[in-house]
Amino acid sequence: MQILTQLIFSGIALGMIYAVIAFGYQLTFATSDTLNFGQGDALMLGALVGLTLVTLGVNYWLMIPLVCLFGAVQGAVVERIGVRPAIKIKSEFGWIMSTIALGIIFKNVAENVWGRDDLKFPSPLPEAPIKFLNANVLPMEILVVVGAILMMLAVELFNRRSIYGKAVVATFNDRDAAKLMGINTGLVITFSYALSSLTAAFAGVLIAPLTLTGATMGAVLGLKAFAVAIIGGLTSGMGIILGGIILGIAETTTGFYLSTGYKDVPGLVLLLIVLAVRPAGLFGKTAIKKV
């Protein structure tokens, strides 16, 4: 029993790491039907900028807003350079290549600025584990879970309650109608990219003390997060959290009960099943695309 609790706790912590990254995919998809495939690299840039600030002597908590600001600017740049031209000419796939290309550029820049070694991100909380229900949890893992949930709640609240959020939702529901109603949909899409990279940068500094920080940290994590976004559903914030937790627990339990060589398999099998049975994701709303 103790083992299972430990596996589930570790799985939840791991899953929340995936979920915070996956959340960014959902944000841009909601407004523009496009994804930022450089999400993992936005995360990496956030973590490395955060690390630089911390080494310069900025307090961890004070550094977070600065990194968020950086993320927002970076996201807006991606949208302006990579996504807007593609949307303008109504290209179905142009944005895929351009966000991937920008992601690679960001990675190469980071390799030149910070080197290609994995660096240690000093933990703002004690690194000794806490006993909880007979299993060990790191304080930093609790921070990731709490931080991720708070961030998602904040974004959801913003979308549902504020007038700007309503513009975002309106853009999602019908871009052309929203435009006719006087909503500057272009700005809304830029904003959603800024917000998505902001969450990625925030996620970066949140998870960096647990993962290790380096130019290549985004690649694997971004891919896993993509799987989470598909499993959970690209239109549902709640689904992303649950999708993350499902994938995280699937990885740790398979690793223990089956074989560590196969620990990535069940998550991907689940991905295939979801794609076959519920293409909109476990919690996504099925949308009928009118052609």
Binding site: L7, S10, I17, D117, N136, G255, F256, T260
Partner: protein, 409 residues
């Protein structure tokens, strides 16, 4: 005016051709990953090579000629290594090559040197097969002065099982060739002691969570964890142990001395043990001088050489090569090869004094008696056994009998 120009041209041409006779430098290629995950080893190796070259050039060079290094970054990529090999051979026309950190890059690149009859001195890569890739050909141009994997794995088992008495051990190895070949070697060495590992687990490069692997080892009652992987993931293992509150000794391949393991694992990495050919301690006058001039020239952080083993082996590789060129009295590949296989004068290096380091059919300079066990403590690698440190002043010479003793079942 025209006449003066002509005179200048003639004078210049004379000076140039005279220079070409007297001080045409000996070009040596240096290949390693100077950026990326293995860069701490690559850069330390390169700095060791630079240090030795500078010393040799200051005292007049080899055969009255200066050594000129041609350094290239292979980024730990096989295809880069191949490009560099061709550049070394066709464009730079190097006399010999030192370097290679990654076994894969070494294997991909050295066949070109074998064909071009240019000697290669591997100074860091440990894959057992490296020096045996061309065993079947009449001449093998590949040499090595690093502790290869087929002696490292038995040494790890010897340390964990015989010296420290752990009978239940778990193996954690990464899913790369390096990790999986190492795991095989470990299992073989354990079998020779009549031990089956209680758990054999795998992890991927960039894995961030090791809970499942560690819990399996813990539940199986492992008293020690034997590792074969590289720095960042090894650090995640140490961090995972801290998280689970389960602390058993880590014993593993020499990568446990990598700076990115020590830095990322922090206090959790203390106590990890690994075979080392050199530990940054001034135990002999030669080592003292080496450490002092390395720290003086390159000023590493906290006066810690990032990878002391790579630096020392890099340094030694140049002295071995210089000795061979001197003995051959030539820079032709086949003559250097013949000299390396039969070095008449001992070469005093940092790791050991090389007396007959190579022979035909035996291109590995390091035998099992030379490496000692290092232990991570307080962010550095120290001698694991106080006895080893006391004995360190006596330099261990190459001894093939030690290999046989270790490898016999």
């Amino acid at each position: 005016m025209l006449f003066r120009f002509k005179l200048l041209a003639v004078a210049g041409a004379v000076a140039f051709s005279a220079g070409a006779f007297a001080a045409d430098p000996i070009k040596i290629g240096v290949d390693g990953p100077f950026t990326g995950g293995s860069s701490s080893m690559g850069v330390s190796m390169r700095d060791g090579v630079r240090l030795a070259t500078e010393e040799i050039n200051k005292s007049g060079g080899v055969l009255g000629r200066q050594i000129q290094l041609v350094e290239r970054d292979d980024e730990a990529k096989n295809e880069r290594g191949v490009q560099i090999a061709q550049e070394f051979i066709n464009k730079e026309k190097v006399v010999a090559v030192v370097g290679y950190i990654n076994t894969g890059v070494a294997l991909a690149s050295q066949r070109f040197f074998q064909e071009a009859k240019i000697p290669v001195l591997n100074n860091v890569a440990t894959g057992s097969i490296i020096t045996h890739q061309f065993d079947k050909e009449p001449e093998n141009y590949v040499f090595r002065n690093a502790a290869h994997d087929s002696i490292q794995a038995p040494m790890i088992v010897e340390e964990a099982v015989t010296r420290r008495g752990f009978k239940k051990v778990a193996i954690l190895a990464d899913s790369t060739n390096y990790g999986q070949l190492g795991r095989e070697d470990l299992e073989k060495a354990l079998k020779a002691k009549g031990i089956t590992p209680v758990a054999v687990e795998k992890f991927n490069i960039k894995d961030v969570d090791m809970t499942a692997q560690l819990l399996k080892a813990k539940e199986a009652g492992a008293e020690a964890v034997l590792t074969y992987g590289i720095g960042p993931e090894l650090a995640q293992i140490a961090n995972g142990m801290t998280k689970l509150g389960w602390k058993v000794p880590m014993v593993g391949s020499w990568t446990l001395s990598m700076a990115n393991f020590i830095d990322n694992a922090g206090p959790g990495g203390d106590g990890a043990r690994m075979p080392q050919t050199f530990i940054q301690e001034p135990t002999t006058p030669k080592r003292k001088a080496f450490i002092a001039s390395y720290l003086g020239s390159f000023k590493p952080k906290n006066n810690r050489i990032d990878s002391p083993v790579s630096a020392a082996q890099g340094y030694d590789s140049i002295y071995l090569l210089a000795a061979a060129i001197k003995q051959a009295n030539s820079t032709e590949g086949p003559k250097i090869l013949a000299a390396l296989e039969d070095l008449k004068t001992p070469v005093e290096g940092v790791v050991t004094t090389y007396t007959k380091p190579f022979a035909k059919g035996d291109h590995d300079a390091i035998t099992a008696n030379i490496p000692v066990f290092g232990e991570v403590k307080g962010g550095r690698v120290n001698y694991a056994n106080a006895d080893d440190m006391k004995k360190a002043a006596t330099v261990q010479l190459k001894n093939n009998a030690a290999n046989d003793a270790l490898l016999k079942p």
